[in-house]
Amino acid sequence: MSTLSKPGKGQVINRPRVSLGKRIHRDLQMNWRLYLLFLPVLAYFIIFKYAPMAGLVISFQDYKAAKGIPGSKWVGMKHFISFFNDPFLPRLLRNTITIALSTLIFSFPSAIVLALLINELRSRKMSRVVQTISYIPHFISVVVVCGIIRDLVSRTGGVTMLLHSILGIQVTNMLYEPNYFVPIYIVSDIWSNIGWNSIVYLSALTAIDQELYEAARVDGANKWHQIIHITIPCLVPTIVIMFILKVGKMFDVGYEKIMLLYTPLTYERADVINTYVYRRGFAENVNFSYSTAVGFFNSVVCFALVFITNKITHRMGGNSLW
């Protein structure tokens, strides 16, 4: 017995010392094919995801394309300080937050509600038709959607005419009115995505055990009770995960769409951080370093938001990304 246990003891003592080199060796021997397979993917991530992160250093420089990163002058926090003093900063923050929160308040729940409503349809056929139709707009490109919006809200457009006759709004090109910008953005956002975003929830709904409903019915629960006490609680994990992801993208508000819809007339309500990054990077008053600093600020805020939301939801109920 004792002789048998001795080598065991020796191994325990030896393991940490020998381990790393040996373990790497053994791991490579066993898995080198796997690593080889991953190499192209790794290269992709390093070049197109991590190299740009490293490129953020130019926000601390006065970057000149001709000199490259090594040759450009280091200027410390200069660009961040001038961004915090930028006269447009309040406007950018206000617009970004307004649009982001409006999406969160209106677009985000709309897909959940739609999934619940589709789930409760009695006719299979109708449920399929509603799904097919509501997915269509997702396949229409943002350029085309904005083209359609431009027509519908123009002076003679269908939406302008409709709102004129119902609410009595003034006949005008609504895209040139700053105050209409956010509503136009949100309504078209819902139109585009409500169906598509409901898929995740529908797929979570199909996973609910039907016996739960039967048991509830036996106990005398009506439809409403069933939705409140079974369906929605079963959806919560999915909702939480989608919510955290949404928060992470929140400050990236659909700048591609905004760029296609806004004009200098509506910058007051429409200009967000990312559109400003684009303009200062490529269009007006071009300054790569300044633009990168603004983008850097945006990325950090996004990351912090995901992190905080994740912490909060984790503490609240244990649903979290990590």
Binding site: Y35, F38, E120, V130, R150, D151, W191, I194, I199, T263
Partner: protein
């Protein structure tokens, strides 16, 4: 006795009033939603078949063409730019989606394997890039730096892997029983055989959905093309559409009548709309989002 039990049965089947109202409201809401979604599309299609001058003098929504004519379609078909755009977009969609899928499948396979040292590191590396990015300018500089500026490959290589899509496939692959892989290994199958012959067929719904995601995003993307493509010969369809639909409003040089704009929309959107119903049955099955966990 029998009368009573029959009576009871009837009661059990009868749907309470509240519930009936609920179902009716639900049906009505869904019909309303479908109408609201379809109206803009009907307007576009009706407009595309309308006479240009009649449309100009008309205001409000169209549900039927005004003085039906094919004139708008004729000028779209004669617009060489649109066909060049089509060709470039098809190239990007076909080559891009194939490469995207190849990379995503391989990545998902490696990330879902067990027992290798760098597994957690690889997963962290991939997932972190979903939450933090270098932003627009550094991305632009990197793409330019690797020599893709003004090349159509700038629309393919920089966006090879979408992490969200990758995670969907990875989750599906994690669900495949290990025993299948082990027995294949005993038969001498290599990683590629296991991946493409055994695992991929088993996670087909997810693969189909993700392939559709990639194809749609290539078809619809315009922003990268605007940044990187300078030669009109390589303009994808969406950049041409941007000129016709967006810039024509503000820039005299691109002036284009509305009916032609509508016909362009129809011509540019029909192909992608024809594809998705074939994959629709996979939608709900293919996307599991328990999923996104890192």
């Amino acid at each position: 006795m029998t009368a009573i039990s029959k009576h009871k049965e009837k009661q059990a089947i009868k749907i309470p009033l509240g519930e009936r109202v609920f179902y009716m409201v639900d049906d009505a809401l869904m019909i309303l939603l479908c109408v609201l979604i379809l109206i803009p599309l009907i307007h576009v299609v009706a407009g595309s078949f309308s006479d240009g001058a009649s449309y100009m003098s008309h205001s409000g929504l169209l549900l039927w063409p005004l003085n039906p004519t094919l004139a708008a379609y004729r000028s779209v078909i004669n617009n060489q730019n649109i066909w060049t755009g089509y060709r470039n977009t098809l190239f990007v969609v076909i080559v891009g989606t194939s490469l995207d899928m190849l990379f995503s499948l391989v990545a998902a396979y490696v990330l879902s394997r067990k027992k290798y040292m760098l597994k957690n590191f690889f997963n962290l590396l991939v997932v972190f890039s979903m939450y933090f990015s270098g932003g627009m300018i550094p991305f632009f500089l990197v793409v330019k730096g690797v020599g893709l500026y003004k090349s159509i490959w700038a629309l393919i290589l920089p966006s090879l892997v979408n992490v969200f899509n990758l995670v969907i496939v990875r989750t599906a692959m994690t669900g495949v029983p290990d025993s299948l892989e082990e027995s294949a290994q005993l038969d001498g199958a290599g990683h590629l055989t296991i991946l493409f012959r055994i695992i991929t067929p088993l996670v087909l719904p997810s693969v189909a959905v993700v392939a559709l995601y990639y194809a749609v995003s290539h078809w619809n993307s315009w922003f990268n093309a605007m940044l990187f493509i300078k030669d009109r010969k390589y303009y994808p369809l969406q950049l041409i559409l941007r000129e016709i639909l967006i810039l024509s409003d503000t820039d005299e040089g691109f002036m284009m009548s509305e009916t032609i704009q509508f016909a362009t929309i129809v011509v540019a959107t029909i192909p992608i709309l024809c594809v998705y119903p074939f994959i629709q049955r996979y939608f709900v099955k293919g996307i599991m989002v328990g999923a996104v966990k890192g």
